[in-house]
């Protein structure tokens, strides 16, 4: 895949959608394209985060360790951006991500990520927007869940 194709791909990811083409090209050039075989993990829960990944193709499971053993909580697919929480907040990985099919990713190292954010404020704003949207979604989910819980308890 050439650099231009990768730029197109990055443009489809909401986080990068509004970045200039030249910045996307630099991001594509400086990030590492990494392929995972089925069963290989991008990272494991509890590891310290050193990179975030953009899924270029394939699918992966998000798995959380529970007292009863590993539990699949979600799946990620093409154009998803994963692993940014751990490098943003310096907390250990909150879940394990394991490739389900052959998985192609763009690996953006922590250094690179911060450099991009600090140098291209548009990107920082974009990330804030995406995170805020996620927070809003989580909050509304929580509200729904609370409502359901109250209903269950009340009923």
């Amino acid at each position: 895949m050439s650099l231009n194709e990768e730029v197109e791909l990055l443009r489809n990811i909401p986080l990068f959608a509004k970045l200039e083409a030249s910045k996307l090209k630099l991001l594509a050039f400086t990030s590492e394209r990494l392929t995972f075989q089925p069963g290989q993990s991008l990272f494991r829960q509890g590891d310290m985060g050193d990179a975030a990944y953009i899924i270029v193709s394939g699918e992966a499971d998000v798995i959380v360790d529970t007292p009863k053993g590993p539990l699949k909580v979600a799946g990620v697919k093409k154009n998803d951006f994963v692993g940014e929480i751990a490098i943003l907040c310096d907390v250990p990985r909150t879940a394990t991500i394991t490739a389900q099919s052959e998985l192609t990713t763009l690996r953006i190292s922590k250094d690179l990520f911060f450099r991009l954010i600090s140098e291209f404020p548009q990107m920082a704003v974009e990330i804030m927007r995406v995170l805020a949207q996620r927070l809003e979604k989580t909050t509304s989910d929580l509200r729904d869940t609370n409502a359901r819980l109250r209903q269950l308890q009340g009923g």
């Binding site: 050439s2 594509a28 394209r33």
Partner: protein
Amino acid sequence: MEKSIYTFIIKYSLRQQIILTVLSFASFVPYYYYLTMPKTIVNQGISGKDITFPYNLLGQELSQTTYLLMLTAAFLGLVIVQQCFKYSINVYQGISGERMLRRLRYELYAHVLRFPLPTFRKLSQGEIIPMIVAETESLGGFIAESFSTPLFQGGLFLVSLGFLFVQNWAIALAALALYPFQLYIIPKMQRKVNLLGKERVKAARRLSDRIGESIQGVQEVHAHNTARRLLSEFSQRLGDIYWTRFEIFQRKFMIKFLNNFLQQAGPFLFYSIGGYLAIRQQLDVGTIVAAVAAHKEMGAPLKELLNHYQQREDARIKYEQVIAQFDPDGMRDPRLQLAEPDKIEPLAGELQVSQLNLADEAGNALIENVSFQVPLESHVAVVGNAGSGREDLALLLARLLFPGKGKIAIGGNDIAQLPEAVTGRRIAYVGASPYIFNASIESNLFYGLRHLPLLPRQYQGEELKRHQTHLREAAASGNSTDDPAADWTDYAAAGVEDMAGLREAGIRALRIVQLHDDVYQFGLRGTINPNREPDLAEAILKARAAFRDKLARPEVSKLVEGWDRARYNRNATVAENLMFGNPVGDALVPERLAEHPYVLQVLDKVGLTDTFLKLGHQVAATTVELFADLPPDHEFFQQFSFISSEDLPLMQELLGRASKERLGELKAEDRARLMSLPFKLIPDRHRLVQFDEELMARIVQAREVFASDLPENLRHAVAFLDREKYSAVATIQDNILFGKVVYGQAQAAEMVSGLIGEVIDDLGLRNRVAMVGLNFECGIAGGRLTQAQRQKLAIARCIVKRPDLFILSDATLPLDSASQGKVFEAILEEFRSRGIVWSLQRAQLASRFDRILVMRSGRLVEQGGFDELDREGTHFRELLAQE
């Protein structure tokens, strides 16, 4: 050492000084005849005065012409004789000067090796080094002529004076009249110059100390932005030297001025007073002229004497100042240091410490009245807070420090009285910051086994003669006559018979300290000479085949792209693909391949020149597009760019000039600039340009041409890749891989190294590879190793020499916690029946020891087993609680 330079000279070079003096005076004889000869030639040979021809010389009748020729021939002969004298005097002076210099430096260095440790807290290497190297330099020259010059010039002076007395005693006295004044005033002025000279020497020393410190602390300089302050301080020190030197030469020239003036005052007196007397007819003119001439004659040697006097003062100061620094209190006894006992018995019995005291330079007690007694083979832990004296106690036990009062005895022998041959071989010590020498891991590992030359090196023929000459010369300067090229390794001490056995033992020690994996990795990245180790090369070729078989498994088959002469390797650079081999020497280094005329010729032949130009243009255009906005010092340039930030504007400008279609019309240097870019491309890593099948096929074609057309003079500049042959220039790992680890596969490198490990283990090669790793160079102060690796190596160095008593002081502190525990246990296990004294930072670790010594403020406050001490109210409990 001798306190004054003259004692030193007389003690070690009296014979040379006498010979030199005799030679100097002997040279007088031909000199005298050489001076009188012109007169004889003119008067007798040419003018024929006082002589009749034919002249009868020893029964031979000589005509005037023959006689003249004979005289001139004699003149020439005298010139030669006189120059021969001069030559041999100079050479002999040179030899004796250099010998004395060599001796002095050797002595000083030997003294440094005997300094007590605390001296190095006050005296830095920046001061010591120039003293031994630079300051002694001028002494050699002075020493050579220290006796002959004053005697010779003094002799000349006395002869002239005597001559004058014979001629006319009154005039002689007159000529002498001014000298008392000269002799009084000049030494007085010289004294001030001497003081300044001392100042200058000290200032220069401080300067080099400063430079040394800046180099060692350069990290701090950058980290704290103090360069400007350093420059200012340095400037001030340079200023000090400048002003001192300025004053010195002002005064020196003033002395010269005064001296010359007094010298010329002589004729003034002769002409004025003598002239006055002559006018009054009390003196005849001839006498005045003779007096002036004699005075002048005396002037030349006097000037030489004065010069010598100044030099002597200079040399004396330098010598005395250097010597003063090299005689600190508490120097190690040279007899103990170099003595070689007939037989060194293992240490055994009780380790008995009684009333031990140690104080620092200011007299503060570091260790006070420490006494204890344990069997030597027991394991002793020393615990305590910082400043409790536990480190000093360890240093005392290792005899690196000498106690102020009290005694340490092992088996009844006071270790202070034991030769270093015993303490240095039967006791091992490793502290928290051991030193790793700038040599291979092997040299560092076996450092503690090299005490004396055991197996002399055999020399033959010319080499033997040269060796003997060198030995004689070393002996003449009182230097060591041990041969560094001999085999110094004490195999028996390590319990082995030869180097092969020792390497095994070394690897074993590295395993104990958990360094063997690192060394194995160094080995994989090392190279071997297949001619010297054909069996290893063979085994690695087997590993290559086994590795290829492993890659047949589908889950790992994509991890490595193997070399195939008929196929392009997408994970290698274009340069590597084109050359299909490793460069030998620097004729064909990959970075400059694009500039090589032969490579350009190959590209031309297969019609790739235009393609490469276009590729280059494409790479340049994309790079400029990507990086143009970034500041020039941006990290991305170093990490990712094909074009450095300095070259970027140049490239931008080039791209503006060159349209893509008309690249062929560019100037040669612009073409070269573009051509060089594609050579660094790795298709699967840099996605800058598309690599289609056709392009790759063409490069493979170029590869064939490159190999078949290779001219004779480049034959040895490249080692072509060959599936069946071991490549001496490639690393062991590359020889096994015979390909490239692919880009873009997650964990490819780890998995490949795992596979290589499997292959290596299957073939039983791990230790052999680790032995190659022993050749890894550690760098200056071990700088190419991590701190933990240095520490482990230092511990292994102690294990290899199998001491009876192993003293460790916070020795595992720099290790990460996982390996710290393993190393700790492994060392205790290795020394199960031998003695250990371990100064521990963590009291908790002491549970594994037979006896615990608890130190507090230099005193031994508690001792006993762990359970005994771990109770309410003990200092030990406090220490445990602190953790």
